[in-house]
């Protein structure tokens, strides 16, 4: 027993002392880093605002990790001429090349990911080739950072490799690539639309990421994506229908209103909710009847989106006001919530109070009282006037 005790005791003592020493060293190092960071912040602030700088001194500083961290922080927040000054400085110091070499040659994942993260801040077109190569890196985070960096550079050559990379990615990685594709904007639309229509033979035929591509197209909002989204709205894949319905709100023309109207009766509430929202963006009076019906939906989101859509469509407000005496309690609630959000209830109450109310305002306030929402009438006089 004693040898076991002695061994365990020794291990614990050594581990405890090592931890203590490590913490002390770390504490000192952090303080020293803070001290250097303060110096670098001062120097870089100076250099950002002028075109000449003491290159020799900067060469001595540039291998220091704290200097690079500080420089990257500056690049994150600076714009215009000041940013250009620091970028020029980085080029002269060979920092971008150093990170490119690191990204290409380092065997350590931490070095590669740090390098690619830094390259994303520099957004130097000279690093685009290395970043495109990094899209096949075995480490997820390196690929995602490379995708982000390419988006910052805005090199359209990256769109197809990013689409090719989609099928290899996890949900998280695919979402990050999706966010990246969004930042390419309209230049990415032809490739994305071909992908969404599954008619690009050179790309993987998997359909798993179609909803994501539909989402990206929806955010970019280019009308060239409308045929692909109309086709996707008929899909058996629920997620794809949801995304297609949402996308049609931004990419669709008036031609998509009938298809969106049909989607209001979809079996999945998410599709119905997105279709309602999309119809609101189209602002076409043909949608009023369907949206009015959707305010009775069993799902809160569908009711809310339908009410909001009605408020965006000309003559839709009348339908909303009509919803105040709907036989369905949830429809009445959706109407009143929307009217309140639009400020119409407050206006109606004020109008009734000061005696300038027309029939519409009186009706709104009367329905408020009927629905038991009298708490919005800050004094009883308005309801009394209505009753009177």
């Amino acid at each position: 027993m004693l040898p076991v005790l002695a061994t365990l005791g020794a291990i614990t003592a050594v581990a405890g002392s090592s931890l203590f020493v490590y913490k002390l060293v770390r504490h000192r190092r952090e303080r020293f880093d803070e001290f250097r960071r303060a110096s670098y912040v001062g120097a870089l602030s100076e250099m950002a605002t002028r075109s000449g700088y003491p290159l020799e001194m900067l060469r001595r500083w540039s291998p220091d990790g704290v200097f690079l961290e500080t420089l990257l922080e500056f690049l994150k927040f600076l714009q215009g001429g000041e940013r250009q000054n620091l970028l020029r400085l980085s080029r002269e110091l060979g920092i971008v090349e150093r990170f490119v070499t690191e990204l290409r040659n380092s065997k350590r994942r931490n070095s590669r990911v740090e390098a690619v993260k830094a390259l994303a801040e520099f957004a130097d077109p000279a690093s685009a080739d290395a970043l495109l190569e990094a899209l096949t890196d075995p480490v997820d985070e390196v690929r995602w950072q490379a995708a982000g960096a390419l988006a910052k550079i805005g090199d359209p050559r990256a769109v197809r490799p990013l689409l090719e990379a989609l099928h290899r990615e996890t949900d998280w990685g695919a979402n990050r690539i999706g966010d990246t594709l969004v930042s390419f904007g309209s230049t990415a639309v032809p490739d994305l639309a071909r992908y969404a229509l599954l008619n690009d033979p050179s790309l993987s035929s998997t359909t798993a990421h179609l909803p994501l591509v539909a989402r990206v197209l929806g955010i970019i909002g280019d009308v060239r994506a409308e045929p692909a989204m109309l086709s996707a709205l008929e899909s058996d894949d629920t997620e794809l229908r949801i995304r297609a319905a949402a996308a049609l709100g931004t990419v669709g023309s008036l031609a998509c209103v009938p298809a969106l109207g049909r989607a209001l009766c979809d079996v999945e509430w998410e599709v119905r909710a997105q279709a309602a929202a999309a119809l609101g963006r189209q602002m076409d009076g043909r949608a009023i009847e369907g949206l009015r019906e959707s305010m009775r939906d069993e799902n809160w989101w569908v009711r809310q989106n339908s009410a909001q859509a009605l408020s965006e469509i000309p003559r839709g407000v009348e339908a909303l006001i009509g919803g105040l005496d709907d036989e369905d309690r949830f429809a009445r609630d959706a109407s009143i919530e929307r009217l309140m959000a639009m400020g119409l209830v407050r206006k109606a109450v004020e109008a009734v109070k000061d005696g300038s109310a027309g029939e519409r305002e009186r009706y709104i306030v009367r329905q408020l009282v009927v629905l038991g929402r009298g708490e919005y009438l800050k004094d009883e006089s308005a309801s009394e006037k209505v009753a009177g």
């Binding site: 405890g16 490590y22 002390l24 985070e141 809160w300 989101w301």
Partner: protein, 470 residues
């Protein structure tokens, strides 16, 4: 072989098994933490702030007599870095001015909100909504316990994910973002994510945020810091990586609403409602053979006030242990049952064997040793080193936790580092024995049940001012 010898061997085998298990889980935790930290640092987490794939979350704060700190707590939640969230405060029949405080601070006004209750709860008296441009809802209901209050919040919640937290929690800016990352990573399978809860005592809090992490002064608080580090960093990341995380803390846990509703929500009046729900989710999904994940997010940090005195700590620990006993009794059928996969065969048996049985074994040791001395059976040459070995191993376990905690870089000031080390060794004599005694007492003592702890809160704001003035 005499009975005493047999007893000694059984204890020795148990002892070795426990240490091997702790070491194994700690090693798994080490790799899990390493992986998690790498993704958290380089995984473009901040994209979530602008991405429309980030799911909205309803934050539910059950409140019972929380007037002292509720406003500060809600403000702190409102400032969390996240895209879409709503904050639902559920007043569970407080006898203090919790409701009035909420109404005054956030200009709450009653609304008539229609909802289809998916979970049964005590009567909801009134629902209020803030007139400020903040998504804050106050639910005033009759007293039904913490679980009932969270269920009421779930009924009102509009969003597909619900976060259950306590009113006295101080959350890190990005904790919600970091926790929800796990849902986005695997939306189809992830049903719950537990966060990392750390003691707030001793820290500096300004405007609802921890601005400086430091250790508290009282020994009873310090011992809890070591305990939390050990529990949340040595064990949970490992069990989570093994697919057998058995406790998503009710103090900071995020759940897929649909999953919680499907299993019937939090159990009313249960003393360990968070663990009970986690176990129920495991059982449900394993029985139905639906692929699922219950994950721990070590980088999603929330801070909580831990008891300041031994008296309150005793009550809290006894309540927890009775909760554990209730859960063990309810889910005994899962023990060593292959139907429940790794949970039934490894995680749950290990939890029962080393969380529930350990204090019994240690307590039996206390009885056997004096009896052996009296009867002259005790072999001092073996007993003393064995006792010392148990203390050294206990300290070793705490040290492992501290090593793992180095990833977060807290408590590096020389004074803090020394205090932590001294307490990780010192808690083995005194605190450990006290905890064992409380747990054993909890097994026999069954006082009037209280669903809510009666811990006195100083309130987040008060704590900050207390620190500031010291």
């Amino acid at each position: 072989m005499s009975f005493i010898e047999l007893f000694n061997y059984v204890i020795l085998v148990y002892f070795i098994a426990m240490e091997v298990q702790l070491l194994f889980v700690s090693v798994v935790s080490f790799f899990a933490l390493q992986r998690d930290q790498f993704t958290s640092k380089y995984g473009r987490l901040h994209d979530m702030l602008t991405s429309d794939t980030t799911p909205p979350v309803s934050i539910i704060i059950p409140a019972y007599n929380e007037a002292a700190g509720i406003a500060e707590s809600v403000r702190s939640m409102a400032m969390l870095k996240y895209t879409r969230k709503e904050i639902i405060v559920v007043n569970d029949g407080s006898s203090d001015e919790t409701v009035k405080r909420m109404i005054d601070e956030f200009r709450m006004e009653p609304i008539d909100v229609p909802f289809r209750p998916s979970l049964e709860t005590e009567v909801i008296l009134r629902v209020y909504k803030s007139r400020l441009p903040l998504p804050i809802v106050l639910v005033d209901k009759e007293n039904g316990g913490k679980g009932d209050a969270i269920n009421a919040g779930i009924n009102i919640a509009r969003y597909p994910y619900v976060m259950a937290t306590d009113a006295d929690m101080v959350l890190d800016d990005e904790c919600l973002l970091r926790a929800v990352r796990h849902f986005v990573e695997d939306r189809a399978r992830t049903i719950a994510v537990g966060g990392n809860v750390r003691p707030l005592n001793g820290c500096e809090v300004r405007r609802g945020r921890v601005t400086r992490v430091a250790l508290p002064r009282r020994p009873v608080e310090l011992a809890q810091v070591v305990e939390y580090i050990r529990g949340f960093l040595s064990a949970r990341p490992g069990w989570s990586a093994l697919g057998s995380l058995l406790l998503v803390s009710g103090a900071f846990g995020i759940f897929q609403k649909q999953a919680v509703v499907e299993v019937g929500g939090f159990r009313h009046g249960h003393l360990g409602e968070d663990m009970e729900l986690t176990m129920r989710l495991h059982r449900h999904y394993r029985r139905k053979r639906i692929p699922y994940r219950i994950v721990y997010a070590p980088d999603a940090v929330a801070w909580t006030e831990v008891p300041l005195s031994s008296r309150v700590l005793r009550r809290q620990r006894m309540r927890w242990h009775r909760g554990l006993m209730q859960v063990i009794w309810q889910y005994k059928g899962m023990l060593f049952n292959p139907r429940y996969g790794i949970v039934g065969l490894l995680g749950w048996p290990a939890f029962v064997a080393f969380e529930f049985v350990a204090p019994i074994v240690e307590f039996v040791g206390w009885l056997v040793v004096p009896a052996s001395v009296v009867l002259g059976f005790l072999n001092w040459e073996i007993a003393v080193p064995l006792f010392l070995i148990s203390l050294v191993l206990g300290a070793g376990n705490s040290l492992i936790g501290l090593f793992l905690d180095e990833r977060f870089g807290y408590y590096n000031a020389p004074g803090d580092a020394a205090k932590l080390l001294v307490y990780s060794l010192g808690e083995q004599l005194g605190m450990r024995q006290r905890t064992v005694w409380w747990r054993v007492r909890a097994m026999f003592w069954n006082p009037r049940r209280k669903s809510w702890g009666d811990m006195q809160r100083s309130g987040v704001g008060n704590l900050a001012s207390e620190k500031g003035s010291s």
